[in-house]
Amino acid sequence: MKMTDIARLLDCDVLCCEDQLGGHVYSACGSDMMSDVLAYVKNQAVLLTGLLNTQVIRTAEMMDMVCVVFVRNKMPSEEILRIAKESGIVVMSTKYRMYEACGILYANGLNRIEGDNRG
């Protein structure tokens, strides 16, 4: 799936790094607990979260993720977007809640991780 597909399926506002929307992603995870993302995530490119602070972007960067989707219409601060731009991470915001947003992407073929049954 391309990141443009994520933006379309979730009716997202794309907030930074639009130039990278053409990139392909193959898996995603949804979590509000960054400790869990750092512990369990493997090779997932997209993070869906309802948590809104700069450490969401730092966590994504540590995990080599390329896209963060904030659910429930959450709008990141300028500081969050600045860090995301520096790291080249696409940031989007969707009106959908976490459960719906994950379900829509999963139903359209975006899986979770290979080789791990958690996350």
């Binding site: 750092l38 512990a39 948590l51 602070n53 450490q55 730092r58 540590m62 500081e79």
Partner: protein
């Protein structure tokens, strides 16, 4: 790289949750520049990032040192925080002394130290209650 080793030192500001992780981001860029594999870079930066977050949550900041040697990458985290009372307990997944406000920021699930051990080849904790903690981690390359 030959036999040369590289050394970097980062101060971690304990008052600023927003800036936590800066040392790990810089380290990631340094390791990319040197040319390590993505797997090594990821393991080192996650372990260091968890350490940085711990320093900010528990110890009012500290110092992170990075040594890039011929056969390994070494990270030393030093703080003058409250120290760890029971290291075995602190190493258990899910055990945390972090306050609720930290959990609302997405951390404090008791995964920090176990994660640091999981992503590195060796980890040694020296801690004295009331004096501080020194954690030495290595990743073989």
């Amino acid at each position: 790289m030959g036999n040369e080793s590289l050394y970097y030192r980062f101060d971690v500001d304990g008052e600023n949750f927003t800036s936590a992780g800066e040392a790990s981001v810089q380290t990631k860029r340094i390791l990319r520049r040197v040319g390590f594999s993505p797997d090594i870079i990821k393991r080192v930066s996650i372990a260091m990032y968890e350490g940085e977050i711990n320093m900010v949550i528990h110890a009012c900041g500290g110092v992170v040192e990075l040594f890039i040697e011929e056969d390994k990458i070494k990270i030393i985290l030093t703080d003058h925080g409250p120290g760890i009372e029971n290291i075995d307990l602190a190493m258990q997944e899910g055990y945390s002394t972090a306050p609720d406000n930290i959990r609302s920021l997405g951390f404090g699930a008791g995964m920090g130290l176990p994660n640091m051990k999981r992503y590195t080849d060796s980890m040694e904790i020296e801690s004295k209650v009331g004096e501080g903690t020194k954690i030495t981690m290595t990743v073989n390359v």
